[in-house]
């Protein structure tokens, strides 16, 4: 894969894409066609068909063209009694919650083989950039949604804008799955660690990255737990000490005890614990998993836009718009109704150049359509894989 293109190559690509007769790409695709998307999810399928990370709670590997990303989910028990998440629940509107910061943690790393032509500093920068982007999308909260800009050493500039409606709660994927992650309310809960590794990049990394994260979360099984409480027995002191015990012990003392019982000033200590009901292979799925965000990248030319650009096309058309959506209704039929089911989560405009506002609105509208198609196709594939493995 060439790392730099010559001017002649770039001009050839652009002139092919902007042709008024028919737009041709390197492999003959239409401008709105994706390359074949290969998704493998895996763990504990039993038939061994497709194992990505068997020791993780959920994992997925997505390959599109030469771009490959592996994502895995790991659940760890954490003590949440110190968190303020209960405050958030009581508070209602998505105020800056301190609790869920620690409840979904995302991390993206790039294999050195993915960008062999870049120095390690540049690779670190890419990693940090992707990590903060994925983290801001998955782990809610409105306090971290202010637009952040980061510039890489290639002098590309990226502006991230996360949708933050003041009139209603901003979307938080964590909230969708929060109830599934509780073990002992107020005390113990699962913290979800979502890790993604970019193995190779042949264009369209954002889409593949979010598809992999979605696949891993789709595949995640939360181990079932059962709360167990032990209550300490009431300590009745038979000997109250020598002095008092002898006289007037009978009725008076019992009365005293009764009163003492009625007024419990001492806090009962309950030893609360939980146990795993079953092994991790047979846990339960996350209930909000179809609402997992999905990304669509549009490479922007003055007259049209291109989906799923290859590495060479990204060099020739560097201005791109990454849109993030979440869909709630899986079986809504027509395109008209999914205004209710679709939620716009955020966008990122990367690269040199500018987009007029009217054009941008049009791109947003079309991007939602593409994202919907992507989600429908992916869900159909994942459901089919699930059913296959069940047989």
């Amino acid at each position: 894969m060439a790392t730099l293109l010559s001017k002649a190559e770039k001009s050839y690509i652009v002139s092919s894409l902007t042709s008024t007769v028919v737009a041709l790409r390197h492999d003959g695709r239409d401008v709105h066609d994706y390359r074949t998307i290969h998704i493998v999810t895996g763990n504990g399928n039993g038939n061994g068909g497709g194992e990505v990370a068997p020791l993780a709670n959920g994992s997925a590997k997505v390959s599109v063209g030469g771009t490959t990303v592996v994502a895995a989910v790991r659940l760890e028990v954490e003590d949440v009694s110190g968190f303020q998440y209960q405050y958030r629940r009581a508070g209602g509107g998505g105020g800056g919650g301190g609790g869920d910061e620690g409840r979904i943690r995302c991390n993206v790393t790039c294999s050195p083989a993915a960008y062999p032509h870049l120095s390690s500093n540049q690779q670190d920068e890419i990693q940090n950039d992707l990590t903060s982007f994925v983290h801001s999308i998955y782990s809610s909260n409105s306090s971290s949604s202010s637009s952040s800009s980061s510039s890489s050493s290639n002098s590309k500039s990226a502006t991230t804008t996360t949708a933050n409606a003041s009139s209603r709660r901003s979307f938080s994927f964590f909230e969708e799955v929060e109830s599934d992650l509780v073990i002992l309310p107020g005390r113990k809960a699962w913290t979800l660690y979502l890790d993604a590794v970019v193995l190779s990049d042949a264009g369209n990394l954002y889409d593949v990255l979010f598809l992999a994260c979605r696949g891993a979360l789709w595949d995640t099984r939360v181990p079932r737990t059962r709360a167990v409480e032990y209550q300490q027995q009431q300590q009745r002191q038979p000997n109250r000490g020598g002095g008092r015990g002898q006289s007037g012990m009978g009725g008076g003392d019992e009365e005293e005890d009764m009163w003492k019982e009625a007024i419990r000033t001492r806090v009962q200590s309950r030893v609360a614990d939980f146990e795993l009901e079953d092994t991790s292979e047979a846990g339960s799925r996350l209930s909000g998993r179809e609402k997992c965000p999905v990304a669509v990248t549009l490479n922007i030319l003055p007259t049209r836009h291109v989906l799923d650009a290859t590495y060479a096309e990204e060099q020739a058309v560097p201005l791109k718009l990454v849109l993030l959506y979440s869909f709630t209704n899986r079986d809504d039929g027509g395109g008209d109704e999914d205004g209710e089911g679709a939620r716009f989560l955020g966008m990122r405009l990367i690269g040199p150049g500018q987009v007029p506002l009217g054009y941008l609105k049009e791109l947003l509208r079309q991007g939602q359509g593409y994202a919907k198609q992507l989600v429908l196709a992916m869900d159909a594939q994942l459901v089919a894989q699930e059913e296959d493995s069940r047989d």
Binding site: A2, Y12, S15, D27
Partner: protein, 177 residues
């Protein structure tokens, strides 16, 4: 390091200091060239030789990469295919698929455009030629995939040019839509 230069007028002369310093007028980072490798140095550097004006900067096409083992050593690696497309087979696995250069326009003939030797601008390429370039590129990738499926001991070194010609002339090129 430059040893001699073909000037845009068609003249060839020995280098001057100013040529080396102005190398970027001729070649820049990222440019794609076809050249002969004359020698390898111990530190990994190569010396490249553009023997005639058929060599040099590549324009009017796109690059396809295949594993180098598939490319056979031929007398000439410049293949003119029948659909209006040329394929230049580099033995490093880089194949340049481009619009056909007429014989009368090649170096030494009367139609040769000497100004275009270092040019970055593509000619106008019509849709049917672009389509043919796409089809040839896809066929090359398919040949690569087919080779990949063979076991290591059975890897055949096919003559890519011959296979291409068979594939393309044997296949009727339909009108697009």
């Amino acid at each position: 390091m430059l040893s001699s230069v073909n000037l845009p007028g068609g003249i060839q002369r020995r280098k001057l200091e100013s040529d080396e310093l102005q190398m970027r007028l001729f070649f820049e980072e990222g440019d794609l060239l076809v050249a002969e490798v004359q020698a390898f140095f111990a530190d990994g550097a190569m010396s490249l030789h553009t023997r005639s004006l058929r060599y040099g900067k590549l324009r009017n096409g796109q690059l396809v990469t295949v594993p180098p083992i598939l490319i056979r050593r031929l007398k000439s690696h410049f293949c003119a295919l029948e659909c209006g497309v040329d394929a230049i087979l580099g033995i490093n696995g880089y194949i340049w698929v481009c619009k056909h250069v007429q014989e009368s326009h090649q170096a030494g003939e009367e139609g040769f455009n000497a100004e275009s030797v270092y040019s970055n601008k593509n000619d106008h390429i019509d849709t049917s030629t672009r389509l043919a370039i796409v089809r040839v590129s896809n066929i090359l990738k398919i040949i690569w995939v087919m080779e990949n499926g063979l076991e290591a001991k059975n890897i055949l070194r096919r003559n890519i040019a011959e296979t291409l010609v068979e594939a393309i002339t044997g296949d009727t090129i339909r009108n697009y839509k």
